[in-house]
Point group: C4
Chain length 294, copies 4
């Protein structure tokens, strides 16, 4: 009886391990983790809606926000406890010492910060200004960074672009500065003494808006000379300021392609290896060396 | 006599088949189908003009619109009947059962929707608000999707870009969100309490306009800190938000090149095959296996 | 004496041929033709300045414009006569018949139109509205198109991009149209009934300004739904509308590179061939087969 | 004693040579030169802040600016003297004649101009308008151009792009001109006689803002015909005006990659060569042939 129950429990924990630990899967994302990602994304949507005066002034919406927040905090608390409990299946996190080791991991701390501050405030009924708490919700980004490769690739692409990105950025900033100084003298010191060009920092705002081609239209030269300079700067400079973005985009694209190829190879190898090692039907637990002592 | 007349009719139907069925041609587009495409494009032009108050308030233009609409509906009705009639030349659509099978095809239903709703309204003289009918005219896009490869390629390019497009899109959206949150706190909560940054959704509108470099100028930061953040976001972020577009453009270009090469090969093969199979001058009907029973 | 003078004249005409006929040079541009290009560019600069009310209202500038225009017309008249006179050195344009044949060439007619209309008006002292004459000055573009390869390459690049450009353009236009229809219904028919979205043509103006990222800021959605749609359209659509430009830029770049390589080969061959054919120092007249009968 | 002190001094001068002369290092930048770069960048930041009325009207900030400027001028003066003193270690600049030769180098003059004008004004207590002096500070850019490869690469990339860049630029400018002429006639001469299109130069300002997609929104067509033309110009022309930037970006990227590869090779060679030549531990002074007579 005890043995059987243990087997069931072990089977359930196995299943949960497969569901919760991303490394337990060769590819894709489990249903449970997909739910976590969805919940995080939903909490970002609600964070946005909560700040909208047209909504948060209505009692109806206030109730919706309150219920949703309680639900999210509860869900993330349960998820956290489950993750800590299940971590023991991995030998390196087995026992209480292992659990503590697990809880001090970067991702585990992020998991804790995703619900604890709001839970404390809710429990104590404190009147802490909600706005400070809301910022903490951005930590939930880290929760999903594990599953969404985009975040990881971002950093890798920046690193890959390295000195090229730095050189391009240096050139872009220098061009922005020189353009701003030129227009400051033409439009701010001379010309019609425009308020928007009355200092170099203000002219930098114009230079950024122009050279990135955003062009809000809040600042623009009005004298013929200023327009002549601005035209030359725009035609010649747009390529320079777009350089960092182009360098990064190229590095990102290369990084992504290499990873996809590497992943496909890894998956192919893993399946092959598994097929070779387990012809008798014994499925080893990924992430462990097959023997569990907990 | 009967035989001869049959031959003539058969010859005419052969000709019509070649004109109306796009698959009956190795390449290019027939005169009849070119007319259909032109008529659809013209109907889009008129749909646009009809909505312009400066035109639809003048009796002169109202008459033009009415006549054109009747003409288009009549033309598409005739085209539909012809297509159904001629479809029988293809063995799989022969007979009444075949015709019904033909009429339930996706493209045939689109052909029907392109004229039937307006025909019914015209016939009954109903006072249905025209605006609802006008939307249905967008279904005419499907009519020409058969002949214009661009539509088909669009979907194929999205599929080809696949996970790269998704990753790029995820990064772009996350950057938009984080930028919006930052500016919401700087310009909306703090700063000059700008109405345009008073909530995260409103700040997202700013972030989209800035990071896509559209920059309408209806929303922009005014505090020094906000402008500093916006500058950094603009210089660093434009490349990220342009990534999905770049990934798609690249996939589209690859797809297009491959198709052109494949098509050229196919045409070359088809001509070669035809030349080999029919040295005695017998021209087989493309799309059928050569024997027609109808 | 007569023979010597003829030799001198012939030598002078040889020199003028080398100076005026672009095909007479293996590469680069002669001093005389460089002068013509400079004069055309200057005439464009003056055409622009002449239209500026701040300048053309001042008697001082009016005099400058009058003198410059007379000078340019005279210079182009002299150039035209010289070109016709010198063309005879080429056997195919020798004699009066040859000269007439030369004068009906496309480039010769452009040379004539570059000065004749204004010369006639000046000679007759007519009070013709100057503005009509000014447009004719744009024909001077053709005068320099001979020397500036950019114009020629433009057309070649469009031809090279061919069906790819057409497909990309079709997709871009369709996206513009569909976006405009969507925003017309959201912002014009529904929403706040904005005047700027009150018809599909007006909404197309918004769609063009947005999808090209120009974003003047004269038209933009104000309702939440409109902004949501516009955001999706902007992020997803910018790549599509930028496609034709990208396709063209790529074709232009390829065309340019190939031409440069071809030209370098041609120059290398020409020099080699010349060195082989003329070891005794006889320099053949390029553009003719070496024998001149005029 | 004297000999020992000389050795120490020589050792110190060696160390200073290694620190100050960029060519004395195989790669990277020394701490002293990094300080100089930082100081120049800081002086640009302060130059910008000094022009801001919100700051320079406050006595507190005025004091900060004054102290910082004195510090920078003193630091650059010391740096200059040190550089001249240390230059003698290089045989070609040894002795007083060598020092004079060193002082007339381009970079040495830039070093002098970086502090002398302001030093003179400070010393004499002159009431020279500060604004003229501030412009001279831009010469400090040259001071750091030695250490930051981006400046050098900029010129090399322009040279590399060469005739392609010129052709693309010619096409872009011609398109801007023709677009401006078209809109001048449609919106300025005809249409609503808009002030912003009342001359070709003004229309060029519109064309630049549109074709670079900056789109400030200070000028835009309002007539249906003008908008139609502007739409066609925008969709078709953006690629053309973006061409020069694209050509340059591509050349810059190629140049950068080649240099990095070349530098890596050079460093590898240098280390190999050094390892081969100095197995006994004698480190030769880079930039000199090993023997110093000063």
């Amino acid at each position: 009886m005890v043995v059987q129950q243990l087997m069931v429990q072990k089977g359930l924990r196995y299943r949960m391990y497969q569901e919760l630990v991303p490394e337990a899967r060769l590819r894709g994302i489990s249903v449970a983790n997909m739910l976590v990602v969805t919940l995080v994304l939903l909490s970002f949507l609600f964070l946005a809606l909560e700040t909208e005066p047209a909504l948060n002034s209505q009692p109806h919406w206030q109730a919706v926000f309150r219920v949703f927040n309680i639900f999210v905090v509860a869900a993330f608390a349960v998820e956290y406890l489950l993750r800590v409990f299940i971590a023991g299946l991995d030998p390196q996190y087995a026992g209480i010492g292992g659990r503590l080791k697990y809880m001090t991991r970067f991702y585990s701390i992020a998991d804790l910060l995703a619900f604890l501050p709001e839970l404390v405030v809710m429990a104590l009924g404190l009147g802490v200004p909600l706005i400070a708490l809301r910022v903490l919700r951005l930590f939930r980004l880290i929760k999903i960074a594990r599953f969404v490769p985009a975040f990881d690739i971002f950093g890798a692409a920046v690193k890959r672009a390295g000195s090229q990105l730095l050189t391009a950025l240096a050139m872009a900033l220098m061009l922005v500065y020189v353009s701003a100084v030129a227009l400051y003298f033409i439009e701010g010191v001379g010309g019609e003494h425009q308020e928007s060009f009355a200092s170099i920092p203000r002219a930098i705002w114009w230079a950024i808006a122009t050279l990135t081609t955003v062009g809000y239209g809040d600042v623009y030269p009005v004298t013929p000379l200023g327009r002549m300079f601005a035209s030359v700067i725009a035609v010649a400079g747009i390529g320079v300021v777009a350089l960092p973005a182009g360098v990064f985009a190229s590095a990102f694209s290369d990084e992504l392609r290499e990873r996809q190829e590497a992943k496909q190879d890894a998956v192919a190898h893993a399946y092959t290896a598994q097929a070779e090692r387990t012809p008798e039907g014994t499925v080893p637990l990924p992430g462990t060396s097959g023997n569990l002592e907990d």
